[in-house]
Amino acid sequence: MDLEKMTAKVRPRKGWEAIDLGVALVQQHAISLYKIWFLITLPFFVVVAILLFDYAVWAYVAFWLLKPFWERPLLHFLSRELFGERLSVKECVKSFFQLAKIQWFPSITWRRLSFTRSLDLPIIQLEGLSGGQRSQRLKVIHSIGSGSAVWLTIFFVFLELVFYFAILALAFLLLPTQFSESLDFWNWVAADSEEPWAAMVLNFVYYCGVSIVAPFFTACGFALYINQRTHLEAWDIELSFKRLAKRLNEQGEPPLVRLASIVCAVGLSVMLLMNQPVNAYESTEQQNELSSEQQVVQAEIDQDKSVPEDETVDSYSIDNLDHASANRLIDEIMDSEDFNETLEDFRFERRFDSDEEKSLENSSSQFSTWGLLFAKFISFIVEFALWVVVAVVIIFLITRYRHLVTGLSPNLKNKKSRPKQLFGLDMSSEELPDQPWQVAKSMIQAKQYREAMSLLYRASLIWYMDNTDVVIREGDTELECLKKLKTFGNQFSGDYFSRLTQNWRRLAYAHQLPDSNVLTELCDQWPDAYVKPMGLNQDEEQTNE
């Protein structure tokens, strides 16, 4: 399963949005889905109608009972289609018997009446689990709510009825008057006629109604299933990581960066797993292993805190832990020192409800009730004002002396948010020489004009990214960068960057080398534009201090 090939946008949806997605799937693949449906069901319906001609009700029951089987090829087609794999109608029809074998007995007995049948079908058919694992998986998928699936089933049952009556009503309206007058409509609708052909006609009407609805029912159930998994397994986050990794790979990231990315991804995954409900990580075999590991780790922590050292970790594993021993263990932990330590703390506060106060109040010697309320109000105002003052002072200090903070941990924020590579240029300031203008000059002497201009341009961009909050995206062109950056820095650095961009664009895209004076000027003025302003600011600040 490749999430990147998914044709729908991967994001957590609400129930109705997921059902909308199911309807959209049918709209897009209606022809194929209805072909599959009719190629499988119509022959069966005809054969059953002929064999059970005198027992029309049983023909109806047989078709209704086996409905879960009819839906399976539709799901087979949709599940492949959503992930970009195109199956032919023929392949789907051929797979019918193979698909029908999966969980065939429960599907037509106790699961046939399940209200969440549409949601359960993908789990049973697509995940290939069996026994307890399947039950666990069903629990997991249902754990974040299956109300939408229940309402979906109820809605589609009524929709089938609506189509049934609508088709009958249409046929009745189109009948010539001489026939319709002699026909008892309600007898007809209720299949109360003794004529077997009439009952079979009604069966056919039912078949038509079901045929209209079935692909939508299957697709909506499948969309709900996809949505539940997106919620549980954070598919959207996984997809974002994959795209990120792909982009990094395309840019030829250094191995160290790749390693760091993998560590971050693994770390985040572990955090996600640890935050999931218990049922969520018991869904698959692999996740079972993870949960066991987590339980062992948890048991170790518990043992360190409260359990006597002679007891082994295994004695606290889930397998051996029954209800009684769990209670015993909880009692032991609750009786331990950690939970029974008595701490004494004291503070000064005015207690208006103290006995002393009450006696004072009763005596009405100093405070009346209104006076007490007024005092409370004043104290609240004063406290609030003090907190505001503290907040303002903190904000002021942070704003005023932020350079000291950045000095202590140099440009941590910028380094975190800034990509190492941008539009093919190496954006790490570690790779940048200490005096880029000097290196650029030496490059010019060596007739490496393009490299020199590139270095100056890169150094300028890095300066802006290190010293301002500007965000530059990969897709930004030079002019867009200039537009963003011109407002930062002082007038001279803005003008300098403007000239540099202009000359760089001419060199890069028109292969026009700037005049020798211009190149030299650009090298000489780089420190004036970027180094000196910083130095002056720092000097000024030091003087102020």
């Binding site: 946008k9 897009q28 093919g424 590139s454 062109t477 890069a508 028109a510 026009q512």
Partner: protein
Amino acid sequence: MSDLTFDNNDESNNVETAKAENTGMNLQQGTELIKTLSENINKTLIGQSEIVEMALTCLLAGGHLLIEGVPGLGKTLLVRSIAKSFAGEFSRIQFTPDLMPSDVTGHAMFDPKSEKFRIRKGPAFTNLLLADEINRAPAKTQSALLEVMQEKKITIEGKSQPVSSPFMVLATQNPLEQEGTYPLPEAELDRFLMNVLIDYPAIEDEVALVKTITTGEIDDSILMRELTAVTDPDSIIALQNLASSIMVDDALFDYAVRIVAATREWSGVQMGASPRASIALIRAARALALVRGSEFVTPDEIKAVALPVMRHRIVLSAELEIEGIGVSQVIADILAQVAAPRD
């Protein structure tokens, strides 16, 4: 000052000046002419300077333009003013459900006097062809334009006949009325170099427009009356040649193709843009650079034309459309994520 020395014969210092040698028009002359043309058209089409810029870009790139907008925004006026500005021929076809292909291209008719079949040329034999409300005609009639848009020739009775040069189709579509319309097939859409959306002018522009038209005038003819021809069809051809020689760095070819290729792999895009889109992107970027007076193309020109060039060549999946995400947003996302070239 440092003691730098420059070798002016260095390979990297070879300046390629955009010049169409066979036409004798250099960049400066071309830029001035385009500026005059643009000002002339903007006098008539008040407040739509961006659309005028794109229309001129399309004309200089030798492409065809599909304009979408509600009625009354001056789509027809734009075409008429472009045609009049370069003294070109102009034809207008109002597409209707009963329009036949021969009504567009022409047909052979029997002349009783000479007892011979005579070719009667249709309105497509012109410089600027306005296909008004092109989606009101059925696919059969729309397809009559396929040959002339691609090959600039029309085949009648087995005989190919070239149309006038320069030739440009400007088709209009009304995005609001969908009743009784026929969506353009993908093959037809792909033949349009650009698809631009014309929007309402700014309030102050609209005030100026209303003042101009209603003061001492009983109809709207003043706009066209004041318009004069500032050049001729041959100059337009020279400008087209000049545009084709605008310099494009190799990195920009790569950039354009990467943008187009991204549409094919983008999640939620059912049909991405074809290689014809890559060609169109570069061609349009060259023309836009000339319109802006530049002798070389930069990534900004490519980004500027990316939306009009690709908007009609991408088909989104139904799921994405249900989400309310449009083609413009998808293209904007692609442009933000495809790295701009630098080295």
